[in-house]
Amino acid sequence: MTTLLVHRRPARGAASRLPAVVGGLAVALIAAVLLFPSWFATHSPETNDVLNAFAPPSADHLLGTDQLGRDVFSRLVHGARLSVTIGLVATVVGVVLGSALGLAAAAGGKWADVAVMRLTDVWLAFPEVLLALLVIALIGPGAANVAVAIGVAATPYYGRLVRGQALAVARSEYVEAARVLGIGPVRTALRHVLPNVGGPVVVLASLGTGSAVVAAAGLSLLGLGPLPPTPEWGAMLAEGQSYLSTAWWIAVFPGAAIVAVVLAVTALGRAVQSRSLR
């Protein structure tokens, strides 16, 4: 055989798909914990057992107990519902407000556009957490208010994306093609503009959910979230920090849970993003 190799294609493994698979499985697990906490929890999350306080992780208490003898693992499982839900609600608030703002800027003529865009410029100049604190100062603390505050702080990002996307789609040749076919503006907006604007928004929202979960935990760490003894990861982190040197498990596991959720959601968001770019 005289054929000689010139060069061979470099091998490409399944490594590129791994984050998507792991992220998807992790998000599925989180959803299950969220919906059916009692399947996973070993103890009641709010039952005090002072005699058994500060117990390190063991077979009975997987992740140990806190200063009141409550099971850290069970509180984590039950806390997922509040912590993750606040992040999700915040994202929904941001998407809805942002879409309304972006569509108004895109459709409302030059002055509306200038007004909305300059408003978002100012909005974006403030750090998100600072803005959320400002909103809480106005409407007061609590789980629902934390979600609203984070959503409001995230609004300009969604608003800018929706505006740019809506303008690009509205000027596209396929929207003009619909006009040539004699299709009216309302039908064109519903059939062509909205769905094509929606795709990138879903991508940004799936990435933004992770940071909303972090922001929610941050605000309740500051004591602005749900009141004790309600289990919530940010609040657990706050309670645990005073015992960090003697009972590290009270603060470290809630922190690890936050990191895990954010990683899983972001991995899934990236996967959605690279799919939509293909």
Binding site: T3, L4, E173, E176
Partner: protein, 514 residues
């Protein structure tokens, strides 16, 4: 001596073998044309000669570049080949040139790599290379940015960059596809001069007529294989493979004679229309009529205002002078609401159908969008059949179709509302010649069957010759000549028309073999 020589070249991407057992060679002072449609493997073959297919498996029985065995070359050795021994001229000068770099900096790149020791000689060599590529005032052009150059000059700058380190072989991949015919002719002449000066040239094109005047030998590729190869004159006069015969016919533009429509009922009347964008007068005093069942050809180079005329006829751009009537009633100067119901009468086929389709839609939804719900599926099937598309394509999305298939879908959608006039804006310029011929035949056939009138806009006189009854030639926003197609081709009156006609690539100008 052969500058490049390859035997039994195989290239596969993943499991797909896209180049199969290809052998070719190019000698000094010789031009070999590699002809085939998109996807035939011609560009991949050329890239293999430069070691550029790093993501593919490439094997060959022999691969000699500049007389040396290149099969075991690594990336470092290939870098020494590129630019120094083999120069590459790519298709789209606007994409290939860095918009933020001066033309001279682009040309100097090859010298930086291959002549690092002769730094003082670089500026002189840059100017010299630009002059060799036929750039006038080379010293001034070297200081300009790509956006300050015309399309033809940009292509020349790319050629200069390829020539800078004096490679013995040039590979030109569709060097004129993005250019107007007149400029295309100039670039082809330049390439011919370079070959006459002793360089080897591997010219890649989908269009036999373009390469006929330049190539000494032709290799015809299809589905990754060379199906025919030989001296240009032999391949053109006595093609042996059926595919080559089809390419030759497409390039000759053999059309059946058209029966002119006698006294057609006027459908669209454009009356002394003018349009400015800012200070720029794009269209000035253009008048034309389109009668039922006839085809009017509108020819001009890019920037001549022909697309603006099309948009005025479509009712998408308001003229600031003159008026348009449709079936005797006003069509321009109306609010959109008043026009909407009558829009079905005038439909559009654009150059780039992919942009004109909602990316989320399937073919069936695209074609059926304007149809009434009752009987829609049935009608979509009929329309797809009438443009020669298999019914199983209905579930596909636009990006899963070939260029020719997409244009057929665009035609089916345009026919759906049963229009009286079809405005075709460069409908085949993005397609390979062989596919062009099929789409043109389809349009002529649909016109015979449905009696739809066509306004056919193009920069390519070859394309309108067989399809249009009347011709209008536009330059700088003004109609410079009009008349029956046969008359314009026989006796062009305006100098610009004569120039256009002379620039049309013809098969009868064949280069003599070396």
């Amino acid at each position: 001596m052969n500058l490049v020589e390859v035997e039994g070249l195989d290239v596969s991407f993943g499991g797909a073998r896209v180049v199969k057992d290809v052998s070719l060679h190019v000698a000094a002072g010789e031009c070999l044309a590699l002809v085939g449609e998109s996807g035939s493997g011609k560009s991949v073959t050329a890239r293999a000669l430069l070691g550029l297919n790093r993501s593919a498996s490439v094997t060959a029985r022999a691969l000699r570049v500049g007389g040396r065995d290149a099969r075991a070359y690594g990336e470092k050795q290939w870098r020494d080949v590129r630019g120094a021994e083999v120069g590459l001229v790519s298709q789209d000068a606007l994409v290939a040139l860095d918009p933020l770099r001066r033309v001279g900096d682009e040309v100097v790149e090859a010298l930086r790599l291959h002549r690092p020791g002769e730094r003082e000689a670089w500026p002189a060599r840059v100017v010299e290379a630009l002059a060799e590529a036929g750039v006038g005032e080379p010293a001034r052009r070297a200081r300009q940015y790509p956006h300050q150059l015309s399309g033809g000059l940009r292509q020349r700058a790319l050629i200069a960059a390829a020539l800078a380190a004096r490679p013995a072989l040039l590979i030109a991949d569709e060097p004129t596809t993005a250019l107007d015919v007149v400029v295309q002719r100039q670039i082809l002449r330049l390439l011919a001069e370079l070959t006459a000066g002793g360089r080897g040239l591997l010219l890649i094109s989908h269009d036999l007529a373009v390469v006929a005047s330049l190539a000494h030998r032709v290799a015809v590729m299809r589905d990754g294989e060379v199906v025919e190869t030989g001296p240009t004159s032999r391949v053109l006069t006595r093609p042996s493979h059926p595919y080559t015969r089809m390419l030759v016919d497409a390039a000759r533009g053999a059309h059946p004679a058209r029966e002119p429509v006698v006294d057609p009922v006027p459908l669209v009347r454009v009356d002394a229309v003018g349009k400015s964008f800012g200070p720029h007068r794009v269209v000035d005093g253009v008048s034309l009529t389109i009668g039922a069942g006839e085809t009017v050809g509108l020819v001009g180079e890019s920037g001549s205002g022909k697309t603006t005329v099309a948009r005025v006829v479509m009712g998408l751009t308001e003229p600031d002078q003159g008026a348009v009537t449709l079936r005797g009633e006003p069509w321009s100067g109306l609010p959109e609401r008043a026009r909407r119901a009558r829009r079905r009468d005038v439909q559009l086929i654009s150059q780039n159908p992919l942009a004109a389709f909602d990316p989320r839609y399937t073919v069936a939804r695209i074609v059926g969008e304007a149809l009434p719900r009752a009987g829609r599926a049935e009608r979509v099937r009929e329309l797809l059949a009438s443009v020669g598309l298999a019914p199983d394509l209905a579930a596909r999305r636009p990006h899963q179709l070939s260029g020719g298939q997409r244009q057929r879908v665009a035609i089916a959608r345009a026919l759906a509302p049963d229009p009286a006039v079809l405005v075709c804006d460069e409908p085949v310029s993005a397609l390979d010649v062989s596919v062009q011929a099929q789409v043109l035949d389809l349009l002529a056939d649909l016109q015979r069957r449905t009696g739809v009138a066509l306004l056919f806009i193009t920069h390519d006189l070859r394309v309108v010759e067989g399809i249009s009854d009347r011709l209008l030639i536009m330059k700088d926003g003004v109609v410079v000549e009009q008349g029956a197609t046969a008359d314009v081709f026989r006796e062009p009156r305006h100098p610009y028309t004569r120039e256009l006609l002379a620039a049309v690539p013809r098969l009868d100008e064949v280069a003599a073999p070396v």
